[in-house]
Amino acid sequence: MKKEKILKQIDRLKSIAIAEGIDLSSEINKLRAMLELESDDFQKEKQMKEVWEIVQNSRKIERPKPQDFIKNFIEDFIELKGDRRFGNDNAVIGGIGYFDKYPVTVVGIQKGHTLNENIEYNFGSPHPEGYRKALRLSFQAEKFTRPILFFVDTPGAYPGIDSEERGMAEAIAENLYYLSDLKTPIISVITGEGGSGGALALGVSDILIMMQNAILSVISPEGCASILFKDSSKAAEASVSLKLTSFDLLNLGIVDKVIDEGPGLEVNPEIGYKNLSEQILTSLQYFTSLSSRELVEHRNQKIRKIGYYKDTTGYLKKGISNTRNFIYDLFKL
């Protein structure tokens, strides 16, 4: 450890200074500055390791997938398939059943525990028809004022020729559009990997819950690294910058609740299941008590206020429309 070497060196200089009665304070201060720097790097290194472990855990094949949450939580589950337009997407599972005593509509993204399952579920990457199925079932839930549970674990919407041909962008946009105004409670849980727009399409909700070791990111760390460092192997470094962990996102005001996983879902899911189950129950109790108007207003306000920017109005004289120079100056402040 470089850090310990420096500490030793400082100690050595101190004893020399005392023993020989010379002033070595400037040398010692230099070493102290080095130490501080070294410590930052150390902290960074440590943080990087931690974050990268979370990223890797979130993707572990042993980790419970949305379909496992459904199996565990939902009684009398009846699967409902298809988008009534083009196809049934195996990457998305939807249906109805009971959570506790509440009839609910459930939609999850399926990810495999084996290669064969992964092939069947397209590795948890939905096509547009998957999102359209989710939206169809959401409208059905609205008709019967049935709360909706979304369980999300996806590397992202599938980037393929067929996906684009059938309008992936339009499909995600429509989900965001209609879910924002859906007159029934929506509870969304990021259980593993929350990959960009493909996860957000099932993330518009009254309460956004994240499992402790789940991630949610605008871009995969690998993708970010290859853009940022022109080197996708620097994904661990990028993962820190992206602020993709549950606690980062709680701090940023995007995630409403983080669920303690105990030893980690991939090790033993029971504690995580229990904690999540309690959170869902509380949320159902609360949100079903609201009127649909209150509900939609709350959801819209929640979405509306996400964003970090500086409003420089105070600095501006009225009537000045071209604010470019002002802004530049202000930014430096």
Binding site: A157, G167, A173, L200, V218, Y309
Partner: protein
């Protein structure tokens, strides 16, 4: 091109002028027909090659000049500027250098008039971090819809973006939800939103407000889609077909109402606004 003397060649842009915006040189080589075009002529022609109708990318100011009534554009929401919520490496420096260049975020929003009809307008700026949507773009778009709702004005947005702004992480991802929710409320007020997709409109912008227009118009040959072409190629491990994710492809696939030549855009927009009774 090769037949020209070197002294003249210098006047032209290099072929790898990758952002394809109108260059400042006096002569331009058209990427569509490889012919040499005289720049003032190109500008007269709204940045469309007079020989092959190739649509050059044009700047926000050019869009304003080409589309809106003279001196009608009145900026809104320019007081909202970016911060660096994630402390993302290099982001602050990038923003500073862009502001220094006189740019004001990846979208400009404001009032404008088209043949006298008052509208609210947003024009994205691909020079600003690829026109990516961070908090400021999201906020400005949301406010534009809210303003339209409050004043019963139509909203026209010209999109051009690489998607969400990586440097603002999940905060920028949620601008997709914010702008889409605002579009929904605006729509419920029964006002008109015309979305114009220009080269390129992809990622988080295409997957939010851009595809939520009552009427969606695309510029010829514009690249429009969700996933980037390189990502798709890496995923499916094959070359993409000719014309894939181009405006004409999207028209055929049923996702844009029509492809419109830029030289016809203004009159088309005016007609649409009139049919929707916005001339008072």
């Amino acid at each position: 091109m090769d037949k020209l003397p070197d002294s003249i060649k210098k006047l032209f842009v290099s072929k790898d002028n990758s952002d394809k915006t109108l260059p400042d040189n006096l002569f331009v080589e058209c990427p569509g027909c490889q012919e040499i075009v005289y720049r003032p002529k190109l500008e007269q022609n709204l940045g469309v090659c007079p020989l092959c109708s190739y649509h050059f990318r044009i700047s926000v100011d050019e869009w304003i000049n080409f589309i809106t009534d003279a001196n009608s554009f009145l900026p809104l929401f320019e007081e909202i500027v970016s911060v660096d919520p994630l402390n993302f490496p290099g982001y602050r420096e990038k923003l500073e250098s862009l502001y220094k260049k006189g740019l004001n975020e990846a979208i400009r929003t404001g009032y404008a008039r088209l043949d006298g009809i008052k509208i609210l307008m947003g024009i994205m700026d691909s020079e600003f971090i690829m026109g990516s949507m961070g908090s400021v773009v999201g906020e400005r778009v949301a406010r534009l819809f809210e303003q339209g709702m409050n004043e019963n004005l139509p909203v026209i947005i010209i999109s051009r973006s690489g998607g969400a702004r990586m440097q603002e992480g999940v905060v920028s991802l949620f601008q997709m939800a914010k702008t889409s929710a605002a579009a929904k409320k605006f729509s419920d007020s029964c006002n008109l939103f015309i979305s114009i997709l220009t080269d390129p409109t992809t990622g988080g912008v295409s997957a939010s407000f851009s595809f939520l227009g009552d009427i969606i118009i695309a510029e010829p040959n514009a690249l429009i889609g969700f996933a980037g072409q390189r990502v798709i190629e890496q995923t499916i491990k094959q070359k993409l077909p000719e014309g894939f994710q181009r405006a004409e492809f999207l028209e055929k696939k049923g996702f844009v109402d029509f492809v419109c030549d830029r030289r016809k855009l203004r009159e088309t927009l005016v007609k649409i606004l009139e049919i929707h009774r916005y001339r008072r």
